[in-house]
């Protein structure tokens, strides 16, 4: 029988995408009289609103109304966990970041609304703003109490280090923010139903939460609001919580005016108003033996959360879980806290704190190695998780369970000719000159599951029509990652029908309720489990009908357990040529009054975490990989080129290798962008200076490695996950961090001949400017 899962099947909407027919929220035809919203925004990072005067704005032709705090029928808030995100500010309220929306102007065109917004006069009383995380620490400006994870007693290790002959290496390390830059900006369209209930089309990764925020803002029940997301033009975490506010504003506008209201942020508003990857500040003391064994780590992690809490506590938590990356620290203490600053509210971004944790681990390894005069690569290899028991158990007490990381570590170095290339690079660099090369390999070990355990559940609704065609609904959203084609493959596989028989439906809250965000790389694992469950139920109902149809006249009865579903047929297992078309079975089932729709449900088994003790098994499994980067650095300009990249990554038994290699490649480049060129800059007044692609540089086609070799780990089926597959969305992003380490390798070669720098400080992102600074420092 032909398998449908595991095949390199194109994206479900590929044909629509290449013909321009795929409809996004921004492309929906609007009903007559539809209005467009534009925000009135704060020109200060921190200021009290004294008064708002709207009368002048109403004189602009096309301006219909101005939405203010007083127009909110329900709760004036879009905070997803803590209710600390007012949608509108009125007199006496305090604006807490530059660009925060105060009010929204609705007009018959975007231009009218924008002009109207320019005429709304808001007076402010300016207040002192906190922008730098170090200032926030000093002033105690925090969103949360500290979180802790401890293994052993690091204080004992620090005190005893001298006597044991170990080195203590300490430092402070900052990581910059990153803008998601989905090519599709935030957009919502709200339409009031005949009875005041609300239909919202939103580019959201989390329709159920968007539904809840809209309902609360309108003072309605959840069943009064339907949210639909057909597809997104990229999400990357930026639409996990931060699509909600715009949906709520559109709904409030539709509620007030009775007309359809569209709120679409243009690129600049998108970047100015919405949160980014958290900048982090880390302070560490690491104890390392003279032979390069990591003995203990004392780490403080500060996530710069911006003006509101959003998901920052969970982002910080994941950073703390991943501060070991792939390395065994026998003694470890991690203290984490979310800082409050007057900037955008930083949010989920592919990796969700994991990249910051991994970057800290790599920074610590490099600094520890150089301080004791060792090659960082040797320290990495020496301390990789290995064996079983304690040396293969994380600092929060979860045993990793296999040694795939070690296999991958060796494998990528063999296939990537790491040792010979490194020797050649060393020899070339020893000749001197302005152009130097560098090479580095870094591992990734990424925990799969929402660390908030209850989120690890999913639902599905599968409908079979009497002609044998199928509609599949589930709670996941499509943002380009290929979830829909994977879910279609799962349904087709279970029901034994061709992919063409499956139609994937837009994600809607009236089909599957109470869904979790499509996030944490879990979309396929969770929704795949639910789709499979629903399809198994239906197959269970169809099997007896098929058995009856397959029982030949006068022959012994075929049992329902003895039929197979495949290739659009149902056949007798022992006699495959005795078969009946799936559609005929469905038709017979319909006539026999057998139910042809079913829900499905899945929850991840066996995961738990106790936040108080910092111990548990928060992850269902780990997704691992490793990558080698070779770069060339120009010592006169700081310019850097990536010459070659080798990747070996574990996606289990891939549901779809075409989709999965696409995720690995795209994730790598996004991670590389974060650590090399994407620099988010806030001015001293808190204004975001990098709010368009003219000032914020994401990788272009000419920035990616010329020689790029991507391999999926073979024979890698993962037990207990849908068809042996593994999550792939986030983990590859952290592979990109090898580029920064390769740059550091090149920078180190600029040290005076014969010497090894005791530290190679390199900013993150390692822009051309940062590379020049680093070279200057090692030149002495």
């Amino acid at each position: 029988m032909t398998r449908v899962v595991g095949r390199p099947t194109p994206h479900e909407s590929a044909r629509l995408h290449v013909t321009g027919q795929a409809r996004y929220t921004d492309d929906l035809p609007l009903p007559p009289g539809a209005l467009h919203g534009w925000p009135v925004t704060s020109p200060h990072a921190h200021a009290r609103v004294v008064a708002i005067a709207v009368s002048e704005a109403t004189t602009i032709p096309g301006v219909v109304t101005i939405l203010t705090r007083e127009d909110v029928p329900g709760e004036n808030n879009s905070g997803p966990l803590r209710h600390d995100e007012p949608l509108f500010l009125g007199a006496g309220d305090v604006a807490t970041y530059h660009g925060q929306a105060i009010a929204w102007v609705l007009g018959t065109s975007v231009e009218a609304a924008r002009q109207g917004a320019g005429r709304v006069v808001v007076t402010y009383e300016k207040l002192d703003a906190i922008l730098d995380p170090a200032d926030a620490i000093r002033l105690g400006s925090v969103h949360t109490d500290p979180q802790w994870i401890r293994r052993g007693d690091v204080d004992v290790e620090l005190v005893g280090a001298g006597e044991a002959g170990h080195a203590i290496v300490s430092g402070e390390f900052r990581m910059g923010a990153q803008d998601h830059f989905p090519l599709e900006t935030h957009v919502s369209v709200a339409l009031a139903d005949e009875d005041g209930r609300m239909m919202v089309h939103s580019s959201t990764q989390h329709p159920s939460e968007t539904q809840a925020i809209v309902a609360h803002a309108l003072g309605l029940s959840l069943n009064d609001v339907v949210v639909q997301c057909v597809r997104m033009g990229g999400g990357f975490g930026g639409k996990e919580t931060q699509a909600n506010a715009w949906a709520a504003v559109a709904a409030i506008g539709a509620w007030k005016t009775g007309r359809a209201v569209k709120v679409r942020l243009d690129r600049d508003r998108h970047m100015i108003l919405t949160g980014k990857r958290h900048p982090f500040l880390a302070r560490y003391r690491v104890v390392v033996s003279r032979s390069g064994d990591l003995c203990g780590l004392d780490l403080e992690l500060y996530a710069d959360g911006g003006w509101s809490l959003d998901l920052s506590d969970a982002v910080l938590g994941r950073a703390m879980f991943h501060a070991d990356n792939g390395y065994f620290f026998p003694v470890m203490r991690v203290r984490g806290q979310v800082l409050k600053t007057h900037k955008t509210s930083q949010t989920a971004f592919r990796g969700f704190g994991g990249p910051q944790g991994v970057a800290v681990a790599e920074e610590i390894i490099d600094c520890a190695a150089r301080a004791i005069g060792m090659d960082p690569h040797d320290v990495r290899t020496r301390n990789l998780y290995r064996g079983s028991g304690e040396t293969n158990t994380t600092h929060y007490g979860q045993e990793i369970g296999d040694n795939r990381l070690a296999i991958i570590w060796e494998g990528v170095q063999d296939s990537g000719e790491f040792v010979s290339r490194r020797e050649a690079i060393r020899a070339a660099n020893d000749l001197g000159g302005g152009m130097r090369r560098g090479i580095a390999v870094t591992p990734v070990k990424f925990g799969i599951s929402f660390t908030t355990t209850f989120l690890n559940q999913a639902g599905a609704l599968v409908l079979i029509y009497s002609d044998g065609s199928v509609q599949v609904n589930h709670g996941g959203t499509e943002m380009g990652q290929g979830l829909q084609v994977k879910m279609a493959q799962v349904a087709a596989e279970v029901l034994g029908v061709p992919l063409a028989s499956i139609r994937m439906m837009p994600t809607r809250t009236d089909k599957v309720p109470n869904t979790s965000a499509t996030a944490a790389s879990s979309g396929s694992d969770l929704n795949g489990g639910a789709v499979r469950d629903a399809c198994l139920t239906l197959r269970g109902r169809l099997a007896p009908v098929a058995a009856q149809l397959l029982t030949a006249h006068g022959a012994p009865a075929v049992h329902a357990d003895d039929v197979d579903f495949g290739d659009g047929q149902v056949s007798v297992r022992s006699r495959p040529d005795q078969r009946v078309a799936f559609a005929s079975v469905v038709r017979a089932a319909y006539l026999a009054r057998v139910g042809l729709s079913s829900t499905g449900y899945y929850r991840t088994p066996g995961i738990w975490f106790d936040k108080a003790s910092g111990r548990g098994k928060p992850f269902h499994y780990y997704a691992c990989g490793a990558a080698i980067a070779e770069v060339e650095v120009d010592g006169f300009t700081g310019q850097m080129r990536v010459l070659r990249v080798d990747i070996l990554h574990d996606v289990g038994s891939s549901l779809n290798p075409l989709v999965d290699t696409g995720q690995v490649e795209g994730g790598f480049i996004q991670g590389m962008g974060w650590v090399t060129m994407e620099e988010v800059v806030w001015g001293i007044d808190g204004r975001l200076l990098t709010h368009a692609p003219s000032t914020y540089k994401i990788p272009a086609s000419t920035d990616v490695p010329g020689d790029w070799r991507v391999t999926l780990l073979p024979r890698a089926a993962q037990p207990g996950v849908i068809y042996g597959s593994k999550a792939v969305g986030e983990p590859p992003l952290m592979l990109g961090l090898c580029v920064r380490e390769a740059i550091r390798d090149a920078v180190a070669s600029f040290a005076p001949r014969g010497s090894h720098p005791e530290r190679v400080g390199l900013a993150l992102p390692a822009t051309g400017e940062a590379i020049l600074d680093a070279i200057d420092a090692v030149r002495g």
Binding site: V18, G20, G662, A700
Partner: protein, 164 residues
């Protein structure tokens, strides 16, 4: 503001469109003609999502004022397929996985088609340069470059067959 009439040929059809002179060609396509395949990614000519052909040359339609399109021939992504038969570049993008979220895809295809019209055997480097003005946040570009390579080879093979 006073409106004006723009005469423009879009995907082979002559159009007479009423618009305000400050609106862009992108607005004309999306709002007047409901050709929503062409996307606005940034509105400032930096991302390439709105790329269309004007008289065969790729341009960012968000930077072209509607009156500038007067008398021109415009090709959008909707005009690439002929008689419901996909252009080889479109087929290759599907098969090679040269797309994910799909927003950059229309502009990327237009840039690729423009390249292949002027250079039937582009090197990998010239492909990379030709699409360097089209930002993609999803794919990492490699599969896009491969797709354009595959398309150029197929088009060459097809041309060889046709000439025999």
């Amino acid at each position: 503001m006073a409106k004006m009439i723009i005469n423009v040929e879009v995907n082979g059809e002559r159009q007479e469109l009423l618009t305000e002179p400050h609106r862009t060609l992108l607005d004309l396509l999306r709002d007047n003609l409901s050709l929503t395949g062409t996307k606005e990614g940034c509105g400032t000519g930096d991302c390439g999502a709105c790329t269309v052909l004007i008289d065969g040359r790729p341009v960012n339609s968000c930077l072209v004022l509607a009156p500038e399109a007067e008398g021109r021939r415009v090709t959008t992504v909707e005009g690439l397929a002929e008689d419901n038969k996909l252009h080889p570049v479109q087929t290759a993008f599907i098969e090679e996985g040269g797309l994910q979220c799909g927003i950059c895809t229309p502009g990327m295809l237009i840039s690729a088609v423009a390249l292949l019209r002027s250079n039937t055997e582009p090197s990998e480097q010239s492909i990379r340069y030709a699409i360097s003005g089209n930002l993609c946040r999803c794919t990492g570009y490699d599969k896009i470059v491969r797709a354009i390579e595959v398309a150029s080879k197929r088009m060459k093979a097809n041309a060889a067959i046709a000439s025999h």
